[in-house]
């Protein structure tokens, strides 16, 4: 099983990279026309929308870290400890969400589809938000986390979960503003986040399924 997983993971990453590159590629690479006023306005509006959404992400990340900092830290730690597993789980989870949404949408004429689709949407959005905040924490810790106890003791501002999350939002937000590359990085971060959120059961570190054990006594 482990050998199968070893084969499966590189194939999954290769397939995901190919699909992402195909989606993110410019529609017509042959055109190199100069930027018109309309194009510049559209670009500015797009940047404004991204910056506004980053501000919302910043507020959401701070609020979520204040509410459940320990869970966010556990998830961030898991992401750094087993990144490949989180990424593979995220890819499979996103695919599963999409296929399940199609199935539930198929069931809408039978009435049961509407509440199921609503529940799936809420779960997917919560997973995405929680996971993305965990990614912010992981990126912030990788970029600005203390390596030694002396370094930690010297710092007054750049320490603690809140600071790591803010640094992560700043770093990923700056990358998000880069055209073409930004959305790809953000997409990868979302996949990582969804995988981490599910792998740690939203930081609770409990098993998703109960294992049956025969009583020995």
């Amino acid at each position: 099983m482990r050998r199968m997983l070893r084969l499966f993971l590189p194939l999954t990453i290769a397939a995901a990279s190919l699909v992402t590159a195909m989606i993110a590629a410019p529609p017509d690479p042959g055109t190199h026309a100069p930027l018109t006023v309309g194009d510049a306005t559209a670009l500015l509006q797009k940047t404004a929308v991204i910056a506004a959404l980053l501000a919302v992400w910043m507020l959401a990340a701070v609020a979520l870290t204040l509410m459940s900092g320990r869970e966010i830290r556990y998830s961030s730690l898991e992401m750094r400890a087993s990144a490949l597993h989180c990424f593979a789980l995220g890819l499979v989870a996103v695919t599963s969400f999409a296929l399940t949404a199609i199935v539930f949408s198929y069931l809408i004429p039978y009435y049961v589809g509407v509440p199921l689709l609503f529940a799936l949407g809420v779960f997917a959005i919560l997973t995405k938000i929680y996971g993305t905040v965990a990614v912010f924490h992981a990126v912030g810790t990788l970029v600005a986390g203390s390596r030694t106890r002396e370094q930690l003791a010297r710092r007054h501002w750049l320490r603690g979960d809140l600071a790591m999350v803010v640094v992560g939002v700043a770093v990923l937000g700056a990358l998000r503003l880069i055209p073409i590359v930004g959305p790809i990085i953000w997409g990868f971060a979302s996949v990582f986040g969804i995988g981490t959120a599910l792998a740690t059961k939203f930081g609770r570190r409990e098993p998703w399924f109960l294992a049956w054990r025969a009583s020995l006594s």
Binding site: A51, M79, W208
Partner: protein, 151 residues
């Protein structure tokens, strides 16, 4: 049956405690056992140099840098407002833009469902098989216990 509480490090320490003395600094169970044995033998347990231990993830994590948080939030909100102002947009436009992207996802979902309904029985069965395989894979991956604390 292998006892899961005794890992390779513990095993090596039990086989040769002097050569693997560093294991005591990372394993609380072996440290407690060594301390117990030392107490029985009337010997002092080896002192632990706390500063030599690696930095734990929870150390300093409860610290709240309000200055950094407020500063960062103010800067990001100010940049967003300035860009919105330069682009001639209001926050309502931003919300509308987000809703438009949601509308795109909804349209995509509707198109996929319509295509599935119009597809042949064979294609629908194939879709069902893919659905089952992907969800089985998801369950398989979810069964793995997280290892962040033990890494």
């Amino acid at each position: 049956m292998k006892d899961s509480s005794v890992d390779d490090g513990c095993q090596r320490y039990l086989e040769d405690p002097e050569a693997n003395a560093a294991h005591l600094q990372t394993c609380a169970k072996c440290r407690a056992e060594a301390a117990g044995l030392a107490e029985k033998a009337g010997a002092e347990p080896a002192p632990i140099d706390l500063d030599a231990l690696p930095l734990a993830p929870w150390e300093g994590s409860s610290h709240r840098s309000w200055g950094l948080v407020l500063g960062g939030a103010v800067v990001v909100v100010a940049i967003a407002l300035a860009l919105c102002d330069a682009a001639g947009m209001s926050p309502l436009h931003v919300a509308e833009s987000s809703l438009t992207s949601m509308e795109g996802i909804r349209n995509l979902l509707n198109r996929a469902t319509t295509s599935l309904r119009a597809a042949s029985i064979g294609m629908q069965i194939a879709f069902g098989a893919v659905f089952l395989v992907v969800n089985a894979l998801l369950v398989f991956l979810l069964r793995r216990a997280p290892r962040g604390m033990d890494a």
